[in-house]
C-alpha cells in the first residue's frame, strides 16, 4: 500500500462509520477540489453510490463555472443535491461586496468576516437544522425545487484538512457541535484508534472529517490517479493566473501560475514556488484568528 492508498482506505472507513451511525447524514460540497475528492471517496466507500444528500451553500458570489460544474456532476452521479442560501441578507444587500465602496467607518459597511458569517456560517447552520428552506435539484428537469424534507441533519461530512490552517489541525475525525452549531475546542471527545464519537445528545450534531490526514499535494495526486473531474478555475487558461483555493469571487485572488494541467499543479506544489506559501493565502477573510472565530461558531 502506498501513502495515497492508506489515506484513501482510512477515509473510506470513516465514511462507512458515519453512514452507519447517522440516520440523518449529509455531506457539504463546496465544489472545490477537496470536497470533490471527498465525493469521489464516498463513491469508493459505497461502491459507486452516494447514499446521502449533498449540501451546497450558495453565497451567490461563486463563479458561474462552479455552479455549472456542480449541476453537471450531480446529474451524472445521480446525487441528491440540496442548496441553501441566506436569501434575506442577499435581498437587503448587507454583504461585503455590496458595501465595499462605502467609506470606512460607515455604519452599513460589512466586513469580510461578517459577510462570511452571514452568507456561509448562518446559511449553513439554518440549512442543516432545517429552519430555513432548502432547494433540491430535480434530476429529471434539471431545476431546483423547494425541498419537502425539513428535518435536521445530525451527521455532516466535511472536507476539512488538518494541514490547511492552525485551528483545523486540532480537529477530530468525528467532532461534535452543540445545538447552536458551536465547536468547543477545549472539550473535544477522546478519539481512540478508529472508535469515534457516535453517540450524541438530542439537538447536537457531529461533523465528520474523512480528509483530515490529507495534504494539498496528496489531494492533487489523488485527483490525478483517479482522473477526478475538477473545475477549470484551478488551471491557467492563458492569462498566467489560476485559483489555488476556491471561495467567493470578491474575496479570492488568483495566484500567478502557468500550471495548465493536474501534472503542472503537482509539479508546482512539489518543487515550485508554492512550496512555502500557505494555501489559503488568497482567501482574504482569514486574517488573525478570523477563521478560528468563524469555525468555533459553525463555519466549515
Amino acid at each position: 500500500m502506498n501513502t495515497l492508498d492508506q489515506l484513501e482506505q482510512q477515509s473510506v472507513y470513516i465514511f462507512r462509520e458515519a453512514f452507519r451511525h447517522f440516520e440523518r447524514l449529509c455531506m457539504l460540497w463546496s465544489v472545490g477540489k477537496d470536497s470533490t475528492v471527498l465525493l469521489w471517496l464516498a463513491r469508493k466507500a459505497f461502491f459507486g453510490h452516494v447514499p446521502f444528500p449533498l449540501i451546497h451553500i450558495d453565497t451567490s458570489y461563486k463563479l458561474p463555472e462552479m455552479i455549472a460544474y456542480r449541476d453537471r456532476l450531480a446529474k451524472e452521479y445521480g446525487l441528491t443535491m440540496i442548496v441553501g442560501q441566506n436569501t434575506e441578507v442577499l435581498a437587503t444587500g448587507r454583504t461585503f461586496p455590496s458595501t465595499e465602496k462605502l467609506p470606512d467607518g460607515h455604519p452599513d459597511k460589512v466586513s469580510r468576516v461578517q459577510c462570511c458569517g452571514w452568507l456561509k456560517r448562518d446559511a449553513l447552520t439554518h440549512t442543516l437544522n432545517g429552519t430555513w428552506p432548502r432547494r433540491r435539484l430535480n434530476l429529471k428537469t434539471g431545476a431546483y425545487e423547494p425541498d419537502a424534507d425539513r428535518g435536521p441533519y445530525h451527521g455532516v461530512i466535511v472536507g476539512a484538512r488538518a494541514d490547511e490552517e492552525g485551528s483545523r489541525s486540532k480537529e477530530r475525525y468525528f467532532s461534535p457541535r452543540d445545538k447552536n452549531n458551536a465547536w468547543d475546542v477545549g472539550e473535544q471527545p477522546p478519539e481512540f484508534w478508529n472508535q469515534f464519537k457516535t453517540d450524541f445528545a438530542p439537538e447536537t450534531h457531529v461533523r465528520v472529517h474523512p480528509l483530515l490526514d490529507w495534504t494539498e499535494l496528496r489531494v492533487w495526486e489523488y485527483i490525478k490517479r483517479e482522473s477526478i473531474p475538477t473545475v477549470s478555475l484551478y488551471y491557467d487558461r492563458g492569462n498566467g493566473t489560476r485559483y489555488r483555493s476556491l471561495g467567493c469571487a470578491p474575496c479570492q485572488a488568483p495566484i500567478a501560475s502557468t500550471a495548465k494541467t493536474v501534472d503542472d499543479v503537482i509539479a508546482e506544489l512539489k518543487s515550485g514556488k508554492l512550496r512555502n506559501i500557505a494555501e489559503r493565502s488568497g482567501r482574504l477573510q482569514d486574517g488573525k484568528h478570523g477563521l478560528e472565530e468563524l469555525r468555533r461558531e459553525g463555519y466549515m
Binding site: 472507513y13 453512514f19 463513491r43 445521480g78 477522546p190 478508529n194 453517540d199 506559501i277 500557505a278
Partner: protein, 608 residues
C-alpha cells in the same frame, strides 16, 4: 509516519516540535517572522511553541489545549508530528493524539525532573501499544548541560518504565529545544553526548511490519444492498485488519459460526482483484447468501478469533464519573457495540501516588483517586486512572488478545453519550459457557447444509427463525402464553412451533436422572433440539420449568447463529436480568402476543 510528542505540562513539547520545524525549514515562508512580530506587538516573549499552539486560548495561556498536527519531511520519509497537551485536564486530547501514532517522543524537563504526567504518559504509550519511544531530556541549558544530571534522570525513568513493564526507550537524548541543541543539529555545547540527535532517532524508527501474514480478520462494518442505479449486489463491507483472503476461500463468521465462500471482491473505479490483504476497506459478495450482522468477525475456519463474554483488560478511565460495578456501559470493540459491565478490578495504577510528599496533588484528582492509604478500591476506577480490570459483555463477542491482533483486541467504553475509557484485551477469562461454545463451533463449522438455503426459507416464510423462551416459576402462565403466541402466529401464516420442555424430557431426556448434576445436559439437549427446529426456519416458542433464567446464557452459547428472546414471567425485582420482556403473568393473552410480535419486529426477525 505518525509521531506523537508527549510529557508533563510545561516540559517543552510544543517548543521541541516548533524548533524542529524551524530548523528543518519546514515552515511556510514568513511564518516564523509573523509569529515574532505578533509577539513583539503583544509584548510577549517569542516562543517556538506559538508556531503550533494555534488557538487563541492556547497562546493566551501559554499551554497546548489540544493536539496539533504538523506535517514535516526528511529525505527518509514523510512525518505527521502530533503535538499532545501535557496538562492533566487535557489527558483525553493527549490520548487522541497518541492513539494515532506509531512512535512517540517523550519530553522530560531536566530541571523539574520526572513528574506525574511523565509517568502517566509512559503508562499510556504502553497501554496504546506504542513500542518505539525516544525520551528527550529538555532544558539541559537550565542544569548547566551536566551529564551526571542527565544520567540520573535517565536511570530514574528507565526504572519506572521497567516497573510497569513498558518497552525500553530507544534512546535518551539531552536537548535544549530553545537553543536547538540535539534536535535537528547537534550544537557545540554537549559534546559528552555521542548518541543520535532527535531527527536521527526519528529516522531510525521502523514502520510496523504489515499484518498481512497474520490470520485473516475482517470485522463486518456493514451489509449493503443499494438496489439503485441497477445495482443488486449484496455486499459484506469492512476493513481487512490482518491477513489476506482470496476469491473461493471458505470463511466463517464469529460469534454466529455462519459459513460461506467468497464469490467476488468488489470496488469502485479499481482493477478487479482475486485477493485482498490487510489495510484495505473492501466489500465481498458471497456464494451462499447468509444473514450476518455488523460486529461479527470474518476469518478462515482454521484460525478463528476468540469468543467470550469475559475478558481481562488494561484500560484508562477518562470519564467525569468513575467506572463502577453494577452499572451498564457500552463497549465498542472493532465494529461491535454491546452492553458491558465492570466485573472485577484487579489493580489500579495511580500515577500521582509516586509523587514526593512535598508535592501536593491537584484537588480535582484527589477527589477521584483511590483512598489515600493506597488500598485498592474494589468497586470503581477513578478519572485518569490506569487499571487492570475484567469486563463482562451481555452477549458473546468475538475478539483477539491485543498481542495477537491489535485492531480486534482494543476497545472503548461509552458512558452515556461519551467515550469515557479505552484499553486493550490481555486475555479471555473463563466463563460458564465455554464448553458449550466450543461444541457449537465444532457443530456449526462441520454442519452439512441441505438443498434449501436459510435465506430461501426466510423468503418463503416471511421471517427469519428465532427462539422465544418463556421463563418463570411453575404455574406462572408460561404455557398459556406460549400456546397463545403459537396459535396467533400460525394464523398469521408464520412458520411457528411451540416447544414444551416436558416433551423433550419425556423422550430425548428419558435416560437422564432428574437431579442437579444433569442440569447442564438437560440444557444442552433442549438447545440442540431447538437448534434443529431453528435450522428448519421456524419461530420456536418454548415453555419449560426445567430450564430457567439462569440457563439463558448457556442456551445462547449453543445457538450463536440464532436470535434468542427471553420473556420472563413473575420476574424478581432488580435490574440484572438478561430478559427482553418482563411480565407479571396477569396480562391478557392478546397483549402478550402483541408484545412478542413487537420484539420480533424490533430485532428485524419479522418485517416491521
Amino acid at each position: 509516519m505518525n509521531i506523537v510528542v508527549v510529557g508533563h505540562v510545561d516540559h517543552g513539547k510544543s517548543t521541541v516540535v516548533g524548533r524542529l520545524l524551524a530548523d528543518t525549514h519546514t515552515l511556510p515562508e514568513g511564518k516564523l517572522e509573523a509569529v515574532r512580530l505578533e509577539c513583539q506587538r503583544t509584548g510577549k516573549p517569542f516562543e517556538y511553541a506559538f508556531l503550533l499552539d494555534a488557538l487563541s486560548d492556547e497562546q493566551d495561556q501559554g499551554i497546548t489545549i489540544d493536539t496539533a498536527r504538523a506535517f514535516f519531511k526528511t529525505p527518509q520519509r514523510d512525518y505527521i508530528i502530533i503535538d499532545a497537551p501535557g496538562h492533566i485536564e487535557f489527558l483525553k486530547n493527549m490520548i487522541s493524539g497518541a492513539a494515532r501514532a506509531e512512535a512517540a517522543v517523550l519530553v522530560i524537563d531536566a530541571k523539574e525532573g520526572v513528574r506525574e504526567n511523565s509517568r502517566r504518559h509512559g503508562y499510556i504509550l504502553s497501554l496504546l501499544g506504542i513500542r518505539q519511544v525516544v525520551v528527550c531530556v529538555n532544558k539541559m541549558d537550565l542544569v548547566d548541560r551536566r551529564e551526571d544530571h542527565f544520567r540520573r534522570l535517565e536511570k530514574e525513568y528507565r526504572e519506572f518504565l521497567n516497573d510497569i513493564g513498558a518497552a525500553e526507550p530507544r534512546q535518551f537524548i539531552p536537548v535544549s529545544a530553545i537553543h536547538g541543541e540535539n534536535l535537528a543539529d547537534r550544537g557545540a555545547q554537549m559534546l559528552w553526548y555521542k548518541g543520535p540527535t532527535l531527527l536521527e532517532s526519528l529516522d531510525a524508527f521502523e514502520k510496523a511490519p504489515p499484518t498481512s501474514e497474520r490470520p485473516f480478520r475482517l470485522p463486518v462494518q456493514a451489509i449493503y444492498k443499494f438496489a439503485s442505479r441497477g445495482d443488486d449486489r449484496r455486499l459484506i463491507a469492512g476493513r481487512v485488519e490482518s491477513g489476506r483472503v482470496r476469491v473461493g476461500d471458505k470463511v466463517v463468521f464469529s460469534p454466529s459460526n455462519k459459513t460461506s465462500t467468497i464469490k467476488s471482491i468488489e470496488a469502485f473505479n479499481a482493477a478487479p482483484r482475486t485477493d485482498i490483504e490487510a489495510g484495505w476497506s473492501t466489500g465481498f459478495t458471497l456464494t451462499e447468501e447468509i444473514y450476518v450482522t455488523r460486529g461479527e468477525i470474518m476469518s478462515h475456519e482454521a484460525a478463528p478469533p476468540q469468543v467470550s463474554t469475559r475478558f481481562r483488560t488494561n484500560m484508562i478511565w477518562l470519564g467525569k464519573k468513575p467506572f463502577e460495578k453494577g452499572r451498564d456501559y457500552k463497549i465498542k470493540i472493532h465494529t461491535q457495540a454491546l452492553p458491558v459491565r465492570l466485573l472485577e478490578i484487579k489493580k489500579v495504577i495511580d500515577a500521582s501516588a509516586a509523587l514526593p510528599p512535598h508535592v501536593s496533588r491537584p484537588l480535582a484528582e484527589a477527589a477521584s483517586a483511590p483512598p489515600a492509604s493506597g488500598a485498592l478500591d474494589k468497586d470503581r476506577v477513578g478519572r485518569h486512572d490506569v487499571a487492570e480490570v475484567v469486563l463482562e459483555t451481555r452477549q458473546p463477542v468475538a475478539f483477539d488478545d491485543f498481542a495477537q491482533g491489535e485492531a480486534t483486541g482494543r476497545f472503548v467504553v461509552v458512558d452515556g453519550y461519551d467515550i469515557a475509557g479505552g484499553g486493550i484485551i490481555t486475555g479471555a477469562e473463563k466463563d460458564a459457557q465455554e464448553d458449550f461454545r466450543a461444541e457449537a463451533r465444532l457443530r456449526d463449522f462441520n454442519w452439512i447444509p441441505g438443498g434449501v438455503a436459510a435465506e430461501e426459507r426466510a423468503k418463503r416464510f416471511g421471517h427469519r427463525p428465532a427462539l422465544v423462551m418463556f421463563v418463570g416459576p411453575a404455574g406462572s402462565g408460561k404455557h398459556k402464553f406460549a400456546r397463545a403466541v403459537e396459535k396467533a402466529f400460525f394464523q398469521e401464516g408464520k412458520a411457528v412451533y411451540m416447544l414444551d420442555g416436558t416433551n423433550v424430557l419425556l423422550g430425548v431426556d428419558s435416560d437422564l436422572i432428574w437431579k442437579q448434576s444433569t442440569q447442564n445436559e438437560l440444557v444442552r439437549r433442549f438447545a440442540e433440539v431447538a437448534h434443529l427446529l431453528l435450522d428448519a426456519g421456524l419461530i420456536v416458542v418454548s415453555t419449560t420449568n426445567a430450564i430457567g433464567l439462569a440457563d439463558v446464557a448457556a442456551v445462547q452459547a449453543l445457538l450463536p447463529d440464532f436470535p434468542l428472546l427471553v420473556v420472563e414471567i413473575n420476574a424478581a425485582p432488580g435490574p440484572l436480568s438478561p430478559s427482553d420482556a418482563r411480565l407479571t403473568g396477569l396480562e391478557g393473552e392478546a397483549d402478550v402476543v402483541a408484545r412478542v410480535a413487537e420484539l420480533l419486529a424490533l430485532r428485524h426477525i419479522t418485517a416491521p
